[in-house]
């Protein structure tokens, strides 16, 4: 029963009230400041020292971590402006009061795994919407209804939890590659050693951002843009708490890392037809950060299948899940088939080879 499992929590609301009129302040991506929704006064966000924001933490598998937050528990905060009850469900870290619409950001004491840093929103809602429209307009073989579907979809600003991981890999590998053609085709064995330093591998810790979408929207992650966590940056936006332990984050990152290692080995061998790659690695120097990154997300469904388009809140890069029109795909397939057939007919009719 939800009533039995709710608890009262602390939130950082005083810092989100306008010093001039007492109104609600929300973070303005364009100004990089808190802006009062009543009188329009802009206030600087005053986080603690910036120097610590990009700090990385060494991973110690033996060390015990804080208890993970219980995401199934609902938490209630009493709004200090109107006294209304604000309900936090699941991983939500930032909400609006349903009665007075004031922004409420949970205090760091209730944040479970503490988020140390974030990159504030720089792309505002209007820019994100234009970027999304442009992205949709460039989709090949998309259904005709897709632009209208996304136009109707709510574009929500969210601070999504991410990991950054560093590590050093000392690798020993074994692989095969092929040379020659026909009767001269041969398979060769090869082996070697390789050192790889991974720096700031980004891993989403939220179901809202898949690894594929991450690679579409976050091309140039700059740790220098990280700012210390402050409720002011979250005001007016949704935010998700970190709820994975470091071991869980590393496990989620493992498939990506494996793929990147195999790709590096392929390049190191520098031959065509490399296959059957095996390797052993000694991983040292694992460092991590728990950070929040800003994204605009539009959820929609096509043929009953849920999909999403995500716009980076940093620079507006856009990527997402998209449906295909079967008729348009068939038209493309028919066009390419016709070209291949025309070429083949001419080739055969000309008596070539």
């Amino acid at each position: 029963m939800p009533g039995d499992s709710t608890e009262r929590v602390e939130a950082d609301q005083a810092a989100l009230s306008c010093a001039a009129c007492g109104g609600h302040c929300i973070f303005s991506p364009l100004k990089g400041q808190l802006e009062c929704t009543s009188c329009g006064t802009a206030h600087d966000v005053e986080p603690p020292e910036d120097a610590d924001a990009a700090r990385e933490f060494a991973y110690d598998p033996e060390a015990s971590e804080n208890d993970p937050p219980e995401l199934t528990r609902e938490r209630i905060y009493q709004c200090r402006n109107c006294g209304g009850a604000v309900l936090f469900v699941g991983a939500a870290l930032s909400e609006h009061c349903p009665y007075c619409n004031g922004p409420v950001v949970l205090g760091t004491g209730d944040a479970g795994y503490r988020t140390k840093a974030l990159i504030p929103f720089r792309a505002d809602h209007g820019f994100a919407r234009r970027q999304m429209r442009a992205w949709v307009g460039k989709r090949l073989a998309a259904p005709g209804s897709l632009p209208a579907l996304l136009e109707d979809a709510r574009l929500a600003g969210l601070y999504a939890p991410f990991w950054t991981f560093d590590s050093h890999e000392a690798l020993r590998y074994w692989a095969k590659y092929t040379t020659g053609t026909g009767d001269k085709r041969r398979t060769h064995k090869t082996s070697g050693a390789l050192q790889i330093a991974f720096d700031d591998l980004l891993m989403p810790a939220s179901p809202h951002v898949t690894p594929l979408i991450r690679d579409g929207i976050l091309h140039d992650f700059d740790p220098g843009s990280l700012r210390p966590f402050h409720a002011g940056y979250l005001a007016g936006f949704a935010a998700e708490r970190h709820h994975q332990s470091v071991a869980q984050g590393l496990a989620a990152n493992a498939p990506d890392k494996k793929l990147l290692i195999r790709n590096r080995i392929r390049h190191h061998i520098n031959k065509s037809g490399v296959h059957d790659i095996r390797y052993q690695t000694d991983t040292t120097g694992i460092h991590y950060r728990r950070i929040l990154l800003p994204v605009w997300i539009a959820h929609y469904s096509y043929d009953g299948k849920p999909m999403k388009v995500v716009v980076s809140g940093i620079d507006g890069r856009t990527f997402g899940e998209r449906p295909f029109s079967k008729w348009k795909l068939a038209a493309y397939a028919a066009g390419l088939s016709a070209m291949a057939i025309a070429l083949g007919l001419a080739w055969g009719a000309g008596g070539l080879l």
Partner: protein, 104 residues
């Protein structure tokens, strides 16, 4: 001069079949195009999206190969001879396909 309908019907059948089979390779082609233009170079997502591109080449090569037989048949009127003459072409295509598969 009357041209026998065999090659014409075979061409139409090949077009229909290749179009039906080609829908999946076209999806892959679009995904590869989007990955090359939109995903971060060297990223895991891009490597995953580009993997399997050889299916596009296999589809077009197979369509081209059958069309060469039909073209030969149309000119000579000899289907069995056209098939016989295509064996060397097929062997070269299979070599190319093997090389593409190894590098996919």
């Amino acid at each position: 001069m009357f041209s026998p309908p065999g090659p014409l019907l075979a061409t139409l059948a090949l077009l229909v079949l290749s179009t039906a089979i080609g829908i999946r390779p076209v999806v892959k082609l679009i995904q590869v195009y989007e990955a090359r233009h939109e995903l971060r170079p060297g990223s895991a997502g891009r490597i995953r999206s580009l993997a399997g591109w050889a299916v596009i080449a296999f589809w077009l090569m197979a369509t081209w190969f059958f069309a060469t037989i039909i073209g030969d048949w149309h000119v000579t009127g000899d289907l069995a001879g056209a098939i016989d003459r295509s064996w060397l072409r097929l062997r070269i295509l299979l070599e190319i396909a093997a090389a593409l598969g190894d590098n996919d």
